[in-house]
Symmetry: D4
C-alpha cells in the first residue's frame, strides 16, 4: 500500500536534441542528488555520448563516487564538468567575455566552459567596469575584433549601455546577482539590460552564463552556414 | 506571575472532517517540533484514527521517539508518513502524474502518497518536458487514458499549456519551486499555470502536491457517486 | 519598401480543438478591434461553427457592424456573446455559483454563460459572504446538492476556506479584482485561494469566470463517461 | 587615526517613556549581541527599573553571562524574559488570544507574556481555525466574554473575517509568517487582515505579538480611566 | 438558452449585524451601479432601517434617481451619505482625528462621518505634519484629552511614530495614498505604520477612514460597558 | 528672474551612431510633443539623414504639421514612420516573425518595419500558438529556413520554450503585454522567456519589437562580414 | 447631525521653516483643488511672504481665479509658479543640470525653477546620454567647472555611474519615470542610482526635481558659510 | 581543452581614480575570496598606495595570510580595514553621525571609518530615535554645529523627516536593514528617506555607510575649494 510510486528507474534522455537544435542536453546539477547525477551519467555512458554538467559545486562533486570523479574534467570556478571527452571540432569564430570585476568571475567561467565544450575559444576582458571608464576605452579596439561579445555585470549594469553605444558587435548581456541593498539578487542588472537605451542588446536570465554561451553557439552555428 | 499562559495541553482535532468534506485532517509537520507531532499523534491513537503526515523531512523523522518511528509507514522522497494503517477501499479510477524531470520528483511523490492514503493508484510519467517535445507526444496516448492528470512543473511551466491543448482530461497544475534567477521560488511556474491560454486548467499552490491530490480526491469522490 | 508586412488576411482557427480537448476555440475580444472580431467570425460562419465571445463590452458590441450584432446572442452583464446557435445537448449535472455580493456579478455571469454555451445549467447563490455567516449556513444544504461549486470572491476571499471546510463538493475558486488598498487587483483573493488551509481547493486566474466554467466542463465531460 | 569612533559607552535609555505613553522601553534582542544586551540591562539595574526582553532566543539566552541568566525570568516558547520583577498591579480586564493551531504558539506566547509583564491575564483559545468551523462556533460564547480579542493567524487568515463578523469585541489581528508557497512570510495573512470585509478590525505587523499586546494595553489603560 | 442566470432580484441584507457586532451593514458604492444602489436602499426602506453609504462620489450621487437624492444626507468631501435618519444616541466619548495636511481631508472626513452616523463626535487637528514639528507640539496637550486618536497620513507617515512616542492614547493609523514616486499608492505610509518603533500602534487599510472609525466604535462600545 | 532655464534650442543628435554600431539614432515619440518631434526632424533634414520614428500613434501623427505628415511614410498598425527615404541596400538574409495571435500584431509590425528601414525582409507566421500545437508543427519546416526567428508572445509565452526545443535558429523572444489577471503587463511572458528550459534563447524588453529587430540587425551585419 | 466636521478654515502654515532649515514652505499642488490653493495663497499674502508652487499643471493653473493667475509667475514646462516676487539675493555658486534627452526636460525645469526661486543660477546640459558617449565627453570639461551637478535620467540611468566615475563634483541623481516595459515608472533608474558602483552618489525620489534643488540649496547654504 | 579560460592573473586597478573624482578605489570584500583579496592588495603594495577595505567580516579577516593581517588596521564592528597607512591631511570640517540605536552601530562605524581614512573626524549621536523625542531635542543644538549630518536608521526611518524639518544641515540618509515583518531588509526605511516631506534630504543605498561617507567627502572636497 505504501509504495504506490511507479518510479521509472532510468531517465529518458533527449539524445536527438543536438541534431534538432544544435545543442545537446546538459545536466543541471543544482537540484539533483549525487545519486541522481550518477544515474543520468550512466545513461550517457551507455549511449557513448559526452555531456556538460553545470551548477556542480565542489561539495557535490566531492560527494560523487570516486571512479566517476575521475571520469569528469571538472572546473571548480565555473562549477562545470565535462563527462566523456566532447572532442569538438574547433570553430574559427571566437567570443569575447567582458566583465567589470573579479566578483563576476564564476559566471564568466561558466560561459567560457560551455563554449569550450563545443569547441569555441573565448577571451576574457576583466576589470573594465565603467567607474574607471579608461580601462574599457583602452581595450575597446581589441574587443571590437570579436563578432560576439558576452557582457557580464552585476550592480547597476551600466556597462551594458556603454558598450552597446560603442561597438557594433552582437552583445549578449548576462546580469549577475553581485549586488546588495535594493535591487539585489541581480534584478537591477537584469532590468538595466532590458531597459537599456542602447539599441539591439539581448539578455538572458540572472547568472546564466550557460545560457549566454548557448545563444552565442546558436549564432555561431548559423554564421558558419550562411 | 511569569507563567500566565493557559497552554491547553491536548490539541482539539477535527475528527468529523472526513465525514463533512471527504478528507480527514492531515498533520503538516513543517513548523511543528517532534514533541508537538508526538502529542498530536497520541490524540489520533486514542481516537483509533489513522492519519497522513506531510512535510516530515528525514531529519525530523529521525528526531521522533523510536517507538513512534516504528508505528509510521515513512517515505523520505515525499517526506510523508502514514500513522496507523489507513487501509482504504481501493478506487477504480486512477490518476496520471506528469512531470518534466527528476527535480520535481519529491512533489510528485507527495501527490502519489496522498492518493495512496485514500486508496487511489497513480502512475507517473516523468521526463516529458517540452524541450524534448517528442517525449511527451510519444506517451500522449497512454496519458489520455486517465480522467485526471496532475501536472507538476517548475521553471517556465510550458507543459501546462501544451498538455492543456492536447488532451481532454481534468488537468490540475502543480507549479514547483524548481527554478533560478528571476521568477524563482516557483512564482513563474505558478503564473504560467494561471495565465495559460489553454482553457480549463486549474492550479494549486507552489510545491503543493498534497493539495493537488486532495482536489483529485474531491473529484473522484463525486465521480463515484454521480 | 514601406509595406514589408506579409499580413496573412485570414486567421487560422483551431476547429479541431473541441474534438481534442472537449472545448471549442473562444474569441477573447479584449485586445481585438471590431474589424478583427468581424473577420474572425466570418471564418466561423464559413465553417458553420458556433462560437463563444468573451470580454466583449457593450461599447465594443455597439461598434460591430449592425447585421453582425443581430447574429449575436449578447449579454452585457457578462460581456459575452454566442455566435450562431450552439444548440448544445443539455447536461444532467448542474453547477452552483456561489458569491459574496453584487460586485462579483459580472464574473459569475461570465461563468454561467460559458456553461450555458455548452448546455450546462447553473444556479447562483449570491450574498453569502462570511461577514454574515448565517446567510451561507442557511443555504448550505442547498449548495451541497451540487457536485461542482464555482466560488467567486474578491477582497480577502475568506469564503474559499470556510466553504472548503464545510462541504465535499469539487470547489473551483475564482478570485476577483473587487478590492481596494493593499492587495487590490485581486491579488489578495488569489493568494487566499492558493494559501487556504482547506484541503482540495483549486483556483483559476483573477476574474476568470470563463476559465472556471471550462474546468467545470472538463470535469463534467469525464463525469458523464466514467 | 584608526579609532575615530566616539562610541558613547552607555546607552541613553528612555526611562520617562512609561509615564508618557503608559508603556516602558523594551529591549528588542534580535539584532543585539549578548554583550550589548548585558550593557543595556546594567543601565536598567542602576535605575532600579524592571524591563521586558523580546526576541531573545534560547541560544542567545544561553550566551548571556551566567549570573545575568539567573536574574532573568526566561520563557523559551515566547523568546521573552523579564529583568527585575515587574510586580505589576493586576488588572481586572482580561484578554482572549485566539489562534488556529500549534504553529502560531510562539507568537501567542509573546503576546501573553507582554500582557503578563503589565499585570494583565490572558486566556488562549487554540485550534479554532475555520477549516473546522464547529471548533470556533463551539467556543464562541466563551470568547464573547472578553472585551479585547487578539487573533493570531498565518496562511490565508480567514479567521480574522469570520470572527469579525460574529462578535462585537475589539479585535486585534496578528498575521504570522506560518505559510508556504506564494504569499508566504506572512504577507498573505497581513493582507487578509487589512483587506477584510468585516468592519472594525485593526492589525499589527507580521509575528508582532508584542505589538498586539501593547495596543491592548493602551486600550486597557483607557478603559480603566474613562 | 441565453438567459441561464438565476439572478435573484433582491439582495439578502444582514440586518442582524448590528446586534451581533455593534455595527450595521454599510453600502460600499465604489463598484455598484446607481441601479444596484437604489435596489439595495429599497430593501433598507422596507425594513425601516437607516444605513451609511461610503465611496459614493459626486458623479454617482448625481446619477441616482432624484427622489432618492433627496432622501440622502450627502457629504461630497467624504463621499458618504446617510439614508434615513440614523438618529443615534450621542456618546460622551469623543475622538481626535489628526492629520498632516489638506490632501488627507477626504479620508479624515470619511472617518468623521462614520463616527457621526453612530452618534460619536470627533474633532480634527489638521496641519500638524512633522516637518513643522512645533505645530504638533503646540496642540499636543489638547490632543491628549482624547482617549482615541485616529491619525491619518500619507507620504512617509512619520507622524505615526512621533505621536506614538508622545501620548498614551489608543492610536489608530490610517495610511493614505497621498504620495508619489516610489512607495506611492499609500504602501509606504502603510508600512511605516506597521513597522513603527512606537509600541502599541494599530493600523487599517490604505485610505480606509471608514474602517478606522469602525474600530474606534468597537472600542467605544466596550468603554461604555466595562 | 523667472526664466533661468538655458534651454538649448536645438537637439544634439548622434549622427555618428550608425558608423559606430551599425544602427542610426531613432526617434522614440512616446514622451515627446508634436513640436519636439518636428524640431528633431528638422535637424535630420538639415543633415540630409533619414530616420525611423517609433511609438508614433495615429493621434500624435495627426497632430503633426500637415507638410511634415506628407514627408513621412507612416504605418499605423506599428506606430512607426520613415522620415526621408532610407533607401537601404536590400539584404539577402531574411527574418521570420512568429506569433500566437492577432493581439500581438502591432509588436510584430514594429519589428518588421524596423527591419524594412534597414533593407531586411521579414515574413510573419501568425496564429501558431501552442494551444493548437498542430498549427505550429504544420509550418515548422517553413520556419526552419530562416536563420533568425523573432518570436512574439504574451500570456504564458509557452511558445518560446516549444520553439526553442524544436529548431536550431537564433531565437529572439519578445514578450508582449497581452495578458490579464496575475502576471499581466507582460511580466509573465518576460519571465517565461528568461526562465525557459530551452537552451540559447535571448530576450528583449516587453513589447520591444524595435529592440528585437535591432538585435537581429546586429547579427545580420556580422553574418555578412564573417 | 450631518455636519460633524470641525473643518478649520485657515491652514496653519509653517512660516518659521526658512529660518529653521533654510528652505521655506512650498505648495505641492498635485492633490489640491484650485479652491484649496487659493486659500493657502491668501495666507501667504496676509503674511507678505512669497512662495513656490510645484506640480501646478497648465489645466489647474487655468482653473485658478483670473486675478490670482496674474499674481503668479507661471512656467508650464516645469509646472511651477512663484507667488509674490521672491527677489532673492543672487548666489555666486552655480549648478549644472545634466540630462540625456528631451523627455526629461520637465524634471530638469522643476529643478532649475526651484533654484531660481532662491537666487541660484543653473545651466543645463542636455542630450548627453551614454549611448552617444562622445556627447558627454565633449562637454565634460565644461561640466567640471560646477561644484554641484544635478543629473536627471530615466530608463537604465547609466549616466549616473559614468559621470560618477569621471568627475569630482557633488552629484545628485534624479531618476525619472521616462521608461517602458519592465522597471518602468522610474524604478529602474532609481535602483541604478542607489546601486551604482561609482562612489559618493546621492539620490532623491523619482521625478523629484524640486527635492534635488532643495538638497543643492542645503549644500550651497553651507558652502557660503563654512 | 578543459582550460579555455584566459584568466588574467593580475587585476587592473584604477589608480587614477582619486585624481579624477577625489576618492580612491576601495576593495569591496563581500564576494571575494581571501586569495582574491590578497592578490589585489599585492597590486596596491607594488604601487605603494594605501587602500580601504569594506565588508571584510571577522571570519574572512581571520582567513587572510597571517603576515597580511598584520599589515591591516582592522576594525571588526565596521568590517573595514586600512591597508598601508593612508596618513591623510586632517580636515577642519567634521561630520555628525546620528542614529536611533545600537542595532545601527555597524553601519555608523563603516561611515566613520571611511571618513577617517580620508582624514575627516566624525562624532556619533546614538540613541536619539523619535520614540523618545526628547533625546533628539536635547542634543539638537550640538548637532546643529555640523554642516553635514549622516543619519542612519532602520525600521520606519521617521528620524529622517523629523531631523529634516528641524535643522539646516546637509542631511544624508542611510536606511538600514534593521527591521522585521513587512518592509524588512531596509526597504521601508529607504522608501521613508525617498518619500519624506522634509525638503532637501538625499539618500544612499541600504546599509551603505561607505557610500554616505563618500558623498560627504565629495561635499567636503568642494567646501574646501569654493
Amino acid at each position: 500500500m505504501s509504495k504506490p510510486l511507479d518510479q521509472n528507474p532510468s531517465a529518458v534522455l533527449d539524445f536527438q536534441r543536438e541534431k534538432r537544435i544544435g545543442l545537446s542536453e546538459a545536466v543541471f546539477c543544482a537540484r539533483k542528488s549525487p545519486g541522481q547525477i550518477a544515474n543520468i551519467l550512466a545513461r550517457f555512458e551507455e549511449h557513448a555520448t559526452s555531456c556538460l554538467l553545470t551548477r556542480l559545486d565542489q561539495k557535490k562533486f566531492n560527494a560523487l563516487p570516486s571512479p566517476l570523479q575521475k571520469q569528469l574534467d571538472y572546473d571548480s570556478l565555473s562549477s562545470t564538468a565535462f563527462f566523456l571527452d566532447p572532442n569538438p571540432k574547433p570553430h574559427k569564430i571566437r567570443v569575447a567575455i567582458v566583465s567589470g570585476g573579479t566578483s563576476d568571475a564564476s559566471v564568466c567561467a561558466e560561459a567560457a566552459r560551455t563554449l569550450a565544450f563545443y569547441g569555441v575559444t573565448s577571451n576574457s576582458f576583466q576589470d573594465v567596469g565603467v567607474t574607471g571608464l579608461w580601462r574599457l576605452l583602452e581595450r575597446l579596439e581589441e574587443i571590437q575584433d570579436y563578432p560576439i561579445v558576452i557582457t557580464v555585470a552585476g550592480m547597476e549594469g551600466a556597462i551594458f549601455s556603454v558598450l552597446g553605444g560603442l561597438i557594433d558587435a552582437i552583445i549578449i548581456a548576462v546580469p549577475t546577482s553581485v549586488s546588495y541593498g535594493i535591487g539585489s539578487d541581480g534584478e537591477l542588472a537584469l532590468h538595466a539590460a532590458l531597459g537599456s537605451c542602447a539599441p539591439g542588446l539581448v539578455t538572458v536570465n540572472i547568472d546564466n552564463g550557460y545560457g549566454a554561451a548557448c545563444s552565442a553557439l546558436r549564432i555561431i552555428n548559423k554564421l558558419r552556414i550562411v
